[in-house]
Amino acid sequence: MSKNKIDSRRRQAVAKWEKLRNNPVPFIYIGAGSCGLAAGAAETQAAVEEYLKRKGIDARIIQVGCIGPCYLEPLMDVQMPGRERISYGNVMAKDVARILHAFFDDGEIPKDHLAGHFGEGELDGIPSFYDLPMLKPQVRIVLRNCGIIDPDDIDHYLARDGYKGFEKCLSMTWMDVLDIVKRSGIRGRGGAGFPTWRKWETCRNTESDQRYLICNADEGDPGAFMNRSLIEGDPHCVLEGMLIAAYTIGASQGYVYIRAEYPLAIKRLKTAIGQMRELGFLGPSILGSDFSFDIKIKEGAGAFVCGEETALIASIEGKRGMARTRPPFPAVSGLHGKPTIINNVETLGTLANILRNGPEWYAGFGTETSKGTKTFSLVGKVRRTGLIEVPLGIKLREVIYDIGGGTQKPFKAVQSGGPSGGCLSEEFLDLPIDYEHLAEAGAIMGSGGLIVVDSDTCIVDMAKYFMSFTQKESCGKCVPCRVGTRHMVEILEKVCDGKAVLADLDKLEKLALTVKNGSLCALGGTAPNPALSTLKYFRPEFISHVKDKRCPAVSCKNLVVYRIIPGKCTGCQRCVKVCPTGAISGPRSEPHNLDKSKCIKCRSCYEICRFDAIAGDAIIIES
């Protein structure tokens, strides 16, 4: 398709989008990202369909991606003809009829479950969605379309200036594009923060008949889902970024390497790639230029190490995903020995925005050395969990308290950067989030997982968790990583079981440094970070496990006991029924007995006691 045809298609798309804004029939938007679906969005949608059918109402249902505040899932937005789009949170199937009834029968805007509206300012006392405490401090650049557009409809993307960044590229030389990316100051969003332009320049300047571009969507960090949400909510922005990158480095073949655990994201990508091909954004001579490019999807088969560049390449080549020594860097010799650029989903998703709005605009966000915005998945024990995008340099406190709403129990730590990152204690709350400050504190930016933990979480257990994760995921090629991580896990297990001695902690630290310095790739090189940072900032907690045989968070199974408080127990027998081992006994209406030798500490009795609240908290766990 030529440039002229694209322009006319865009005009149609804009008209379609305007029509969507001045909708002739009511529109109902359902947040149908993976997390929305997990929260029950499919049931909510079925209830909406059922309601509309029963009432004979002509309305359209549009599935959108994740807008961010996962704690409000499932989200349902209602837009009456010519009115603003109004968002409702935690809408379960049973709530649908009541909300829709108010709109359609009473002509009112129901206040129940109300989250906000998508227009400007205040509307009949309804706050703007973007003024919600979780949204207000955010700057949405990469996520600008997520939850707003239908990700399966390329026209929505086109109408919101989609592919304009790429079109601008085509009118420039690759050197001009490289210069724009350089001036924007964007650094790789996959974790290491290497300047994007420098990698590209190396690749372009390497003589070769073939170059490759790979989009790294192997989001393996447990606790991180930014890339999944972005692809599910706005696949075209990532694909447009791939076009821009491929044009600059001179690649003719691209791959998206994506986790097989993300079926919805893969489906959305496939649809989007089909649409690009149809409109001539992929294939030979794109938009009449001499630039040709195509994209293939490669599904990862479940290996964390494949997020590492050289292991990822080995996996695409059909081999075991094992890292190799660098140099040569993939930018010089990568896939099939050809120059290859591997960029993270978020890096690619940002590019079109930089091209459209200019590098100075982008560099206006963030700090001197860390420009722009970064998406984070804010999860764990915060009140408001979800996907956020903030300018770099923002303080941890603002993210955890202003956006996340703080923790219910006292804040203990925030873990940044997944299994390669570190745990930061309260004293770091005023630390600006940028590449340098996080690294200095012993954590890393990583891909953007922020896991907040409170006083209920045992920090030793947390370190053990991450170490056993990297130990399992170690590819086994080099000894420090393969053997060292295993021994580190064993020591941490001893600490959690109350069987360690103080000398073990020194051994752990020494071993950690060996693994850190002696490993071949970043997996081993960063694997000890969780152990090192927790030892540094939370040593007293380790010591109380070792010396007092106590777990202050009352979490380590072998250091806690379950006890029934006779004065509080009403003898309701609920715990007797749920106990899987018959450890609790006693007649009705009399305080029950708990046989500690039979107790497997499964927590069932504790949960049912609190849940049914007849006796309330008659069962306690103590250390």
Binding site: A38, P222, Y262, A301, G302, E317, I451, Y465
Partner: protein, 152 residues
Amino acid sequence: MANGGLFAIMQEFKGERGDLIPILQRAQDLDGYLRPEAIRSISRWLKISENEIYGVATFYAQFRFHPPGRHHLKVCLGTACHVKGGEQILAMTKQRLGVDTGQTTADGNFDLDRVACLGCCALAPVVAVDNKIHSQMSVLKIQKLLDEQKQD
């Protein structure tokens, strides 16, 4: 299942080394696991030794070498699920089903896996049954879920 389906799949590929993992994935979709016969056919066709194919396949967590159960149960132990009590949910599931992770129950009803992250961290802890994700689980909710599945 006969190898007919597998041959049809292989037709879609060029037969390059890089096709190995996608073919294994498709073969597993077909049978639910990697049958030794399927690996033999793939080996002959791609001219890669069976030994090497097993080497690649066992490296990746996705591949199974035993027939799966009727329901596929995955307990998520990503970081968020872990801090919100995922371990206890896994322990309870193991106890109720009488199997360890990577195994299938004697009646062939369930197979159990632990996974690193399903990407629904904001709704932790989560459990997936046949790709349907159940959010904000507890040791009580998982028991109810297992009971419901048994009745199906």
